[in-house]
Amino acid sequence: MASDTLTTGPRTDAEITGLDALDLAGREQGLSRLRRLWSATWPKLAALGLALAVWQAVVWTGWKDPWALPGPGPVFADLGGYLLSPMLWDGLATTGRRAAVGFAAAIAVGLVIGLGVARVRVLRAALGSMITALQTMPSIAWFPLAIILFQLSEEAIFFVVVLGAAPSIANGVIHGVDYVPPLLLRAGRNLGARGVNLYRYVIAPAALPAIVAGLKQGWAFAWRSLMAGELLVVIATRTSIGAQLTYARELSETTRLIAIMIVILVLGLVVDSAFGAADKAIRRRWGVLDQAGQ
């Protein structure tokens, strides 16, 4: 029936290789790594310089006394000393531990609730809108209740951190599972992935970008809740970053206060950009990132 196919074989091979080469020609290019890095960095540096200049200009107008609004110079000088002091690192250890434990708990809760809502119709009807409602609730509004329930303790802080972050994470999971392309599900099922394997091989990886986005947003909420908590729930024996901020205000040490704020800002940025990098890595693997690396 097809005894002659061999004679066309080699010809077809060459055609296929040629067509592939033509199809792929000119696809591999892009700016050098260094230039990409620079083009992404200089606008940020410029904006930072501008912000510092505005700050210094306001100080120079004499709008406020120098003790109330010190300029960048004294603040960065103080920041230098602060970075070398054990006080900062003790504070970071306490705050970092709280952030890690609280966020981990929020991930656990968010994943379980998210998966439940995504899978079980009754749960979706019951909890779906409640999760969104929870997200709109400013987490600091939970603190009075948390303090009554748990007194001035770490439990009160964890309670609010989890309540603040878990809804975002759950929403990320729900969104991710809901928007797995049906075609990939059909392909996965046809390839033999059923039940748990369908989750392992198709749903979980397909939902990953949305889950990472949920984690990123959840982290932002967790970090805010944690800072609010540390300002409100000051535990005398544990000088967290937030507690140090409160002390600085009580002692009117504005240079230190702003130095601590800068630490908080940078910490938040570092974690946020870690999530950003994870997100970007995923999108690059998936090919949904354009060549400019934006």
Binding site: I16, T17, L24, R186, G192, I282, W286
Partner: protein, 259 residues
């Protein structure tokens, strides 16, 4: 749904449909997609299903693939056969490399790592993509992606291949070459192919038998054997003559819906 009687001819890839019916929806909104379709596909046969929109071609393949359940009738496959299904889109997993994609069905069957590697390499050679295993799907052209999808489906080691307009989104030249490829692989592996298309020439180029389906509801209208020797060319006079005949009948059927 699998036959228990055909033990001697197990896993040879015959497909039998008896009065298969599919209804979507309920009550007044119910739509009859397939109405009593009966069809016997012999092992190793290449059957093309041709029809206009709404003839339930894709529905039929989904039923045979077991991704959907028939409302009535019976579908019989040989013992232990799970047909492989290909779509118009390659439906590759973007989070995996080309190799990773082809490996998925092997992993799901529990093949040990060394064997998986060997099989993946062999399958990628089969579709002429041996050098592209480490690439990601988005780095390949449409035709190459569809070949990865073919390799991934072949990794199921199934004798029955269901193809749902697999080359519909490709340019003509790529499609011609993939016809040659598919014909070669079908011959080498003695596959049974059920191939859905609305491209009549494609059907005449590939099929042993062309089956024309009516639209709304889908019924078998007419079928013909394609006695053109292989390998064929899509632009040969014999293929064109058959395509012309099928086109005429298809147009008559489409025209019926305009009245």
């Amino acid at each position: 749904m699998t036959s228990t009687t055909t033990t001697r001819r197990s896993a040879t890839g015959s497909v039998a449909l008896r009065g298969v019916t599919k209804v979507y929806g309920r009550g007044a909104n119910a739509v009859l997609a397939l109405d009593g379709v009966s069809l016997d596909v012999a092992p190793g046969e290449f059957v093309c299903l041709v029809g206009a929109s709404g003839c339930g071609k894709s529905t039929l393949l989904n039923l045979v693939a077991g991704l959907d359940r028939a409302s009535g009738g019976e579908i019989t496959l040989d013992e232990g056969v799970n047909p492989g299904l290909m779509f118009q889109e390659p439906a590759l997993f973007p989070w995996l490399t080309v190799e990773g994609n082809v490996e998925v069905p092997l992993k799901l069957r529990g093949l040990p790592r060394a064997q998986r590697r060997e099989r993946v390499a062999e399958l990628l050679r089969t579709v002429h993509l041996a050098d592209f295993g480490r690439k990601r799907p988005h780095e390949l052209s449409g035709g190459m992606r569809q070949r990865v999808a073919l390799a991934r489906t072949l990794a199921l080691d199934t004798p029955v291949l269901l193809m749902d307009e697999p080359f519909g989104a490709l340019d003509a030249m790529t499609r011609d070459i993939l016809h040659d490829e598919l014909e070669r692989i079908w011959t080498e592996r003695r596959l049974t192919v059920l191939f859905v298309t609305h491209n009549v020439r494609e059907a005449a180029r590939l099929a042993d038998r062309i089956i024309l389906l009516s639209s709304r509801p889908g019924r078998i209208l007419w079928s013909t054997e394609v006695d053109v020797p292989r390998p064929r060319r899509i632009d040969s006079p014999e293929v064109s003559a058959i395509a012309a005949e099928v086109t005429d009948r298809l147009r008559t059927e489409v025209g019926r819906h305009g009245q």
